[in-house]
Symmetry: C2
Subunit: 120 residues, 2 copies
């Protein structure tokens, strides 16, 4: 899996206190598990937005839905606050995802007559 | 919950074909569920990286670990490919998260003598 001499869990932790090393390794394993879960969640999310994009293009529905977008941002900020995550970060995270969705939809639009899509 | 006249699920879908509306609503509900899951995953991830930051600062461990970072990027790109998610997007997603982790660690560093941290 790796193309360099360190192992994924060890990194540059060689030679440090064993208890500290064990705790760092454990934390890194948790971070890696979470990243794997998020990557798979995002893959599923893009499947859903791709379907939305195709559906809207097929039925000539308006591309943007500002009310829906406001609801999403408001809801995500509230969820973030409840999870002790910075709501500003949650909003910029949603915007980051939206940028990728728009990139996907541009591909869909180039294959449809209407070119309409829903970014989020 | 909302501060405007539309409901979260309806948005601007009023007046369109009922079957299409139902499918869009269902897709939006899935997107909302996924977003909630991701927000909570990220909250947990930041808890772990905050602990890493504090541990490294306390034990005067080096801030950066390029080998660990290479492993993370490589692994995430492989996971993304397996989930039919663009590996380039997965890598830029990780970089987006890292930027926020660094911002968190700057706060931790300002409260420690060493100011050392681990970005990812």
């Amino acid at each position: 899996m790796t193309d360099h001499p360190t192992t994924p869990d060890a990194g540059s932790l060689d030679g440090i206190d064993e208890a500290v090393r064990a705790e760092l390794t454990s934390l890194r394993e948790s971070i890696d598990n979470i990243d794997a879960a998020v990557v798979h969640m995002l893959a599923e999310r893009f499947k859903a937005t791709q379907r939305v994009g195709r559906l809207k293009a097929e039925h000539k529905l308006p591309a943007a839905d500002p009310a829906r977008e406001r609801d999403q941002i408001k809801r995500l900020r509230e969820l973030a606050a409840g999870a002790h995550l910075d709501p500003v970060f949650a909003e910029s995270f949603l915007n980051f995802i939206i940028a990728e969705v728009i990139r996907h939809h541009e591909k869909i639009a180039s294959d449809t007559v209407t070119g309409q899509n829903e970014p989020v």
